[in-house]
């Protein structure tokens, strides 16, 4: 519950049009700013927050430090994107604004959103940093957006110059599915305020994000930490499994790496929620998959794809197997015959099955299935050899086209 006067420096330069942070960098920034304002004013009623923009026609103070949250949120409306960010000027004007705060007892803090390349050189930034330190102003830097040569270094240097007893922080937010504001919640920028601030921030984020999309596992860590933890752990396990399977697949069919990882990434999103159901469905699905691959491969690829994508969504390893089978089938049929041989090879199949979580190779039902598959493949091989010359002709025609 620190009594603080904060100036937030917003980057509204041309670089903020980019959409790598959903929905756009500028919008993500605006959301983060709203969140910070809320958190600050909540943690201590006497806190004041001000906002200024660094780009556009020049550094412009939108609202001087005030505790009126409505005013702050209102001034964020109708901001235009354009120009280049002037980091040094922005920080200096913010410092001047803090100098004129009404309550001299408030601690001074500047929060900078640095989304575009930094034009100034390291020396200049360090000088500014020292001046801030002299005036006991703390500085928080949010490094997001553009990452050009030296930007991170410069910002780190600036932070080092300002930092006094670890009151200043820097946060690097890479582009990704997580919203900027969500990432910031867990950083010292928020938690530095104390428990009150972070509690508000988390609940506000839940309200704003509709409660589901805002959090990685659809569960608010604050509301149900154990469940969130359990989900996170299972996610980690899943990832580890995928990596192991991916490595194995890479050894066998190295040229298919690109497509496989694509499928693997599709898997986790659905995999979490269906974790419990996987062991039950595994056997039946696996059966389906193997039957499909051994069966007529020239049959409509589309049908296979839709079936596969359904199955793939449920089990990444299954996806790998399916992918393998599909890939193999599109190649010339000679290798296709090899594939079915491979599948028929019990040891290979059992090793795949062993890597799956819910499937026990010694399980009688699995053994049965393997045996049946073996028989199937043997009869199929003869068929395939007959079909092989036909297929080759088809392939050649296709290639010519």
């Amino acid at each position: 519950m620190v009594l603080e006067a904060t100036m937030i420096c917003i980057d509204n330069s041309e670089w903020m049009r980019n959409g790598d942070y959903a929905p756009s960098r500028f919008q993500a920034q605006a959301d983060a700013v709203n969140l910070i304002c809320g958190a600050k004013t909540q943690s201590n009623p006497e806190n004041t927050v001000g906002v200024l923009t660094m780009a556009g026609k020049g550094v412009r103070v939108l609202v001087t430090p005030t505790s009126d949250l409505g005013k702050i949120l209102a001034c964020m409306h109708g901001l235009e994107i354009g120009g280049e960010m002037n980091l040094a000027a922005g920080i200096q004007v913010a410092q001047l604004a803090l100098k004129h705060r009404q309550n001299k007892k408030q601690q001074q803090r500047i929060i900078v959103f640095a989304g575009s390349p930094v034009m100034h050189d390291k020396k200049a930034l360090e000088v500014i940093g020292k001046k801030l330190k002299k005036n006991s102003v703390a500085l928080d830097i949010v490094n997001f957006g553009e990452d050009d040569e030296g930007k991170t270094e410069k910002l780190e240097a600036l932070l080092a110059a300002v930092n006094n007893n670890d009151t200043s922080h820097i946060v690097h937010v890479p582009a990704g599915p997580n919203a900027l504001s969500d990432v910031l919640i867990s950083t010292p920028i928020f938690t530095g305020d104390g428990e009150g601030g972070s509690g508000f921030a988390a609940s506000a984020a839940a309200a704003a994000a509709g409660g589901v999309s805002g959090f990685e596992f659809g569960v608010d860590p604050n509301l149900d930490p154990e469940l969130a933890l359990a989900l996170r752990v299972s996610m980690e396990e899943e990832r580890a499994r995928q990596e192991a399977a991916a490595k194995k697949a890479a050894e066998e069919a190295s040229e298919q790496d690109a497509t496989m990882t694509e499928h693997a990434s599709e898997g986790p999103s659905g995999a979490d929620n269906k974790k419990n159901e996987i062991p039950d469905d595994d056997n039946t699905l696996l059966q389906q998959a193997l039957a499909m691959s051994v069966d007529e491969p020239a049959s409509t690829q589309d049908l296979q794809d839709t079936e596969m994508s359904d199955a793939a969504a449920e089990d990444p390893d299954l996806a790998l197997a399916l992918q393998l089978s599909v890939q193999e089938s599109t190649k010339d049929s000679s290798s296709e015959a090899d594939m079915s041989k491979l599948l028929a090879d019990q040891s290979f199949v059992s090793s795949i099955l062993a890597s799956l979580p819910g499937v026990d190779p010694n399980d009688p039902s699995v053994k049965e299935m393997l045996a049946s598959m073996q028989n199937q493949s043997e009869s199929q091989q003869k068929q395939d050899e007959d079909k092989a010359p036909e297929k080759k002709e088809e392939k050649e025609e296709k290639e010519e086209k």
Partner: protein
């Protein structure tokens, strides 16, 4: 924020500025309070200056400045593009002044100069948000020569002839005088200020 809608819709060019003695007094008082004893290490003739808002009325090209107040203003002594003027303070202050005299509107701003500075155009632009045609008055608080201590300006936009460059703003001087209503005529010896 009070945007003047009733008056000054017709952007009649400003021909004369009348400054009332009360304004001079309050500006000098402001200067004595805030900036008189500061000494700058960098430039000899530039001292910390005071900036504030001018209130008054405008009628047929004549601007009548009747009241004023100072606002928190800060600028970086080395880099003139770094400046801060607390416009929230101004807005709250103006809303209070409006209560005592509804006729008084924001007409511009003042600076104790003593000369024009580089960031004056930028500050002037800020005042365009509050009044369509603001004036800028420089009050010389320590005049060396005889004459009235005020210099008034307003800004015009000039377009370069080749049309390719962005238009620039310039300050244009406008004649000013010190005048007062009968009730205001308290003698103010200028040489004592």
């Amino acid at each position: 924020m009070d945007v003047i809608k009733t008056q000054q819709i017709s952007s009649r060019p400003i021909e004369k500025v009348i400054v009332h003695p009360l304004v001079l007094l309050s500006i000098v008082d402001n200067y004595n309070r805030d900036a008189k004893d500061t000494r700058k290490r960098v430039a000899k003739d530039t001292r910390k200056r005071v900036v504030g808002v001018l209130l008054g009325t405008s009628f047929k090209g004549t601007v009548d400045v009747t009241n004023s107040y100072a606002v928190p203003f800060e600028e970086d002594e080395k880099d003139s593009s770094i400046w801060f003027l607390d416009h929230n303070y101004h807005e709250s202050m103006f809303s209070m002044f409006k209560r005592i005299n509804a006729k008084e509107h924001v007409v511009g701003w003042y600076s104790t100069g003593p000369k024009l500075r580089e960031n004056d155009l930028d500050i002037h632009r800020l005042f365009h948000n509050y009044v369509p045609n603001p004036i800028m008055v420089i009050i010389d608080v320590q005049p060396k020569e005889l004459g009235i201590p005020t210099k008034a300006y307003y800004d015009v936009e000039e377009f370069k002839e080749n049309g390719t460059q962005k238009s620039q703003k310039f300050f244009v001087h406008v004649p000013s005088e010190i005048a007062a209503h009968e009730v205001e005529e308290i003698r103010m010896p200028f040489d004592e200020i």
